[in-house]
Symmetry: C2
Subunit: 452 residues, 2 copies
């Protein structure tokens, strides 16, 4: 018998109807032993996520006004779900009591207090799903992260899993019952509740999958699969049914918003396949993300872009004879607490590409001043408004003609290439272009590789 | 009246017949006020350059045997030139006396002694050319670099010009006579003769051109012009009649052997155009190298390659979050006294490209060990046998379709691209390929841009 850990995102638990879908999916496969849940998300576009309501509630309690109204909204959301699931009135009482008492908790440490409140969304989701499944006659229990041993660093809102958690959580594998586990939070060694950063429920699921050596980590969301490009930019982008961890990571970095690749890291590290699936269409094939993919016909699995970049360009005659030039340049960047993305270079030129948002006018002034003084370039220019486009595909460097197709498509659509970067053994090619050309470039590249 | 500095290379002075060509060229234009000469070069393929004979003579004197025979070969070469130029017998006596007395000089400092001997080739060339022109009734004088003020750093075989030389040499501009100046050497402040590194006569000409503010530096060699690719690789490569300093430099770096770009640096710095011309075909248009070129139709002026490269490839999950990762890697490279060429990178990967000849097994062991210990990469691979191909052209980054043509040509010829590097505002694109594909790639790229 295989062992599966499933995680359901916020839209999968937005309403009683969605809860029922989750229950159906959980019950459809006896291997789904551990189910991780998010807080109820949006039911429709103008709706508010329960987590955001909880944060607003916490802020109101901290600020001193409006808390009552927000509290009522939160309770209304859960009342609706409880009613729709035909759960007994006591379930609501439990939730209302927990919310009120937690709201009266210690408010001395602002971030810690907010964590303690916002984590209630996941806790309530998990409690209600377990109650519903039990009511329907199935052996599911709610498991508390503290009791289970999900031990995190004591960093409110930005907690990291501690290595001992994996050993502590392992016995869940042999639990006599099937488990409903709240995502997004755990406990520091001092007993404080602490929440993960964004993508927190994905992290919880990935940690559990790794701890119990799951055969697969099923990540249920609201899309049928990962697409080869952003559907907001490309009309009907190609569906991608298989990709590797490395490809996922490159795409996530390049602007893909389906998943936080870092959230999945515990599963990747443990080499557990991650299966992206759709709660609203569980029959669809989904996207399987694993160490290697079986289908090698696709040289490229995705195209993504991000437009918030700028380049510091330096030229200096005989730069390549000056040992340490590049290293000293990167030291200046590092001293300014900047991260850089790439450093494409020629014989007498080097560009350092950084996120434009981090390169404020003050930082720019200070960095350029040091570069001028310490490196004495002949030319020093800052180019703003750069977009980086990546095409991603494992082993593309072993396939002839990928660069040709990509540069041909960009040229045919009138996109001027300012920079190109492809490193040895890499699974991506990066193109630097003007921000204004970004969407045109993504469409051109998607069509070149997927509409053939 | 314009002022021109001309320099003639070794093949231009290989025989009396060549000396006469040089004299004719010098006399054809009154603006050619300063003529810099190399030592007599090869008359034919199996011949030996006078400079190599002089070095062999110095080595024999230092080693103690065979000096007589080499001395005779040297004197024979000059006897032939003197006879062919119908110069009086005294010219030969002067040369023979100078060679013998210099041969008996101080041999305590080996490199210094070799410099003092090998510089005689240029000195004799200059003395004989001046004597010939005077005999023919023209007002040319031989100028000694020491008297003229060509002051160099005291580094035998690798001397560098000292800044004061430019002021000291400037009065040559107003000399009452036209000047023949020996290339390749000057004098240290302590009075010692010291020679430039390779390309030394080109350096002397460039320094003189800068010192006297010449309108052009005419560099006479034995080719009609610079070619768009190496004629040993590409059959009938395109002739390039105009290029910029930056383009010349990129091509020279990438493997072009026509000129040493560093030798021309003094002229480039002073913004003096360098005109490459052919002594054997002075009517040909040549190649004008200057700050900017007037012809902007050619996006690419040349294709060159070099095959002595290897890449250190590292991958590490979340590398881009580790501030200072790239800088620490370059520090390790620098500590091993290695220069690197490029560092193409992806999100979790970086490659450092270095000259393979400098990356010996011992250096490799030490560098990889430090990388493993200090950077803990997930993967660390050294790829050897890499060729770097460059296509060069100012402003190519502003022209759409250059990358398309290049990658298309490579793909169509079955060349797999391992790396691509094009930085912002650059005048080149670099392609990393397998060494075995180098010539094929150069032919493909040349044909793509020049046979259209």
């Amino acid at each position: 018998m295989a062992l599966k850990v499933c995680k359901f995102g916020g839209t999968s638990l937005a309403s009683a109807e969605q809860f029922r879908k989750v229950a159906t999916i959980a019950l459809a496969d006896d291997d789904r032993k551990i189910v991780v849940v998010s807080a109820p998300g949006k039911r429709n576009k103008p709706d508010t996520k329960v987590t955001d309501l909880l944060i607003a509630f916490a802020e109101a309690k901290l600020g001193g006004s409006g808390a009552e109204a927000v509290q009522q909204s939160i309770l209304d959301r859960f009342a609706g779900i409880i009613e729709g699931l035909e759960l007994p009135r006591e379930e609501f009482e439990t939730i209302a009591t927990l919310l009120k008492s937690r709201g009266e908790g210690n408010r001395n440490h602002r971030a810690r207090y907010i964590d303690s409140i916002k984590a209630l969304g996941e806790e309530f989701s998990a409690r209600l799903l377990a109650a519903f499944l039990r009511k329907e006659g199935h052996d599911f229990i709610y498991v508390d992260p503290k009791e289970a041993g999900l031990v995190l660093s004591d960093e409110p809102g930005n907690a990291q899993v501690l290595p001992e958690s994996y050993e502590l959580l392992r016995p869940l594998r042999d639990s006599a019952h099937r488990i409903i586990f709240p995502g997004f939070y755990g406990y520091a060694k001092n007993g404080n509740l602490v929440a993960f950063p964004r993508g927190g429920s994905d992290i919880t699921g990935a940690i559990l999958a790794a701890a119990v050596h799951a055969d697969v980590y099923e990540n249920f969301t609201d899309v049928d699969n990962v697409f080869a490009a952003d559907p907001r930019i490309v009309e009907k982008p190609a569906a991608i049914h298989e990709m590797t961890y490395a490809e996922m990571r490159e795409l996530s970095y390049a602007g893909f918003s389906v998943l936080h690749d870092e959230a999945l890291q515990p599963a990747f590290n443990a080499k557990i396949p991650v299966h992206i699936r759709n709660t609203n269409n569980p029959e669809s094939r989904g996207t399987l993300i694993s160490l290697e993919r079986s289908n090698h016909e696709l040289p490229v699995v995705g195209v993504a872009g991000s437009s918030d970049f700028c380049a510091i360009f330096l030229s200096k005659y005989l730069m390549n004879r000056e040992k340490g030039f590049g290293r000293r340049l990167l030291q200046i960047i590092e001293d300014a607490d900047l991260s850089y993305e790439h450093t494409p270079s020629g014989i007498d030129h080097i560009s350092v590409i950084i996120k434009e948002s981090t390169f404020t006018p003050e930082v720019e002034k200070q960095v350029l001043e040091r570069i001028r003084t310490e490196l004495q370039p002949d030319k020093l220019i800052v180019q703003r408004g750069i977009a980086l486009i990546m095409i991603v595909g494992d082993g593309m460097s072993k396939q002839i003609g990928v660069a040709k197709r990509a540069t041909g498509a960009l040229s045919d659509h009138g996109v001027n290439l300012e920079m190109i970067n492809q490193g040895a053994s890499e699974s991506s090619i990066m193109f630097g272009i003007q921000s204004g050309d970004m969407n045109k470039a993504i469409v051109a590249l998607h069509d070149a590789f997927f509409n053939t």
